[in-house]
């Protein structure tokens, strides 16, 4: 089950400069583990020591913030799109 993951500029050092990579997983947590296996160290930037999503990282499943879905437990299906972005100010 391949999921397209969009990587922000700031984390492309882990993906050899790639903007979009593929990874596998039935849940977001599993996807991040798979991502880390392919791009060593990226998980440490997304998830804190407490096992939760980094406060300054937002992850969207098909444009919806995963914190309002199931967090790392959010179920994924084939063809989904995951977007990782740093939190920025507006206004």
């Amino acid at each position: 089950m391949a999921i397209e993951v969009r990587i922000p500029t700031i984390l492309r050092t882990y993906t050899g400069g790639e903007k979009t990579v593929e990874a596998k997983g039935d849940t977001l947590g599993a996807l991040i583990d798979d991502l880390d296996a392919r791009h060593d160290g990226i998980k440490g930037r997304l998830i804190g020591d407490d096992g939760k999503l980094n406060r300054f990282v937002n992850i969207y499943l098909n444009d919806e913030d995963v914190r309002f879905l199931g967090g790392l437990e959010t179920a994924l299906s084939d063809g989904d799109s995951v977007t990782i972005l740093p939190a920025v100010a507006g206004g």
């Binding site: 922000p8 700031i10 406060r55 444009d63 919806e64 913030d65 972005l85 920025v88 507006g90 206004g91």
Partner: protein, 316 residues
Amino acid sequence: MARYDSLLDALGNTPLVGLPNLSPSADVRLWAKLEDRNPTGSIKDRPAFYMVEQAEKEGRLTPGCTVLEPTSGNTGISLAMVCKLKGYRLICVMPENTSIERRQLLEMYGVEIISSPAAGGSNEAVAVAKRLAEEQPDWVMLYQYGNPANAQAHYETTGPEILADLPTITHFVGGLGTSGTLMGVGRYLKEHAPGCRIVAAEPRYGDLVYGLRNVDEGFVPELYDASVLDTRYSVESGDALRRTRELVEKEGIFAGISTGAILHAAIGQAERAVRDGVRADVAFTVCDGGWKYLSTGAYSGTLEQATERLEGQLWA
């Protein structure tokens, strides 16, 4: 009664208009709160006025004071008007990749502009303003991202206005920048219209805007409280532009680009209600008119061309 003693008194009480052509059915309707009908043409007039009044009440702002604020535009323009009428000097820290119209409007009001680098977007403007505030302790930073008066303005005005006009409201969709609108309207509606869903739409920019040096330079406004929201969407500039154009094409409303992002999320909620077979009254904010974005090319050429031109711009 449409007579007011001064421009400041004409704040708020904006119209809520139905969108008969974009609403999916007679049972699932979209309603636009026309915040471009405020004194300087944006929703930010409300928090700007409240933040200044509150600072005056607390004695932080006294005649002759200098006000400092990080802003990508609309808050600066609103503060410029309020400060001009109340006699304060205003300095705005603004990212250099904001539209020329916003800069010209601020200059017209006599605001001093300090530019912050395009890379890093508003995060960088906030950082620069915080540094300046430390160096110049006599300057008063109202700080829209953490000032409770920002959300309070919407709790006391925008929220009650929407509920009075639309007692059957089921969804409110607002733009997420400082969090002020969503926190204020959201809290009010949660208390007074139980079950109403509060939905955030945030702009997704091109890579440049996210050009931070590391993840921990990210920024979450102090006002942001996720428990007020039911969900949150990130809207790409292409989707925002498409909806901005639909709004003018189908309903005649000429709005700014952030409104397109909000409409995109609002239509998503409406379509979900249709699929679930339930009635819905979805209200959303038209944050400002399109005037300030004409130079970005958002309204001319094909959607693809316009989206490309918007790359690297701060459009909300």
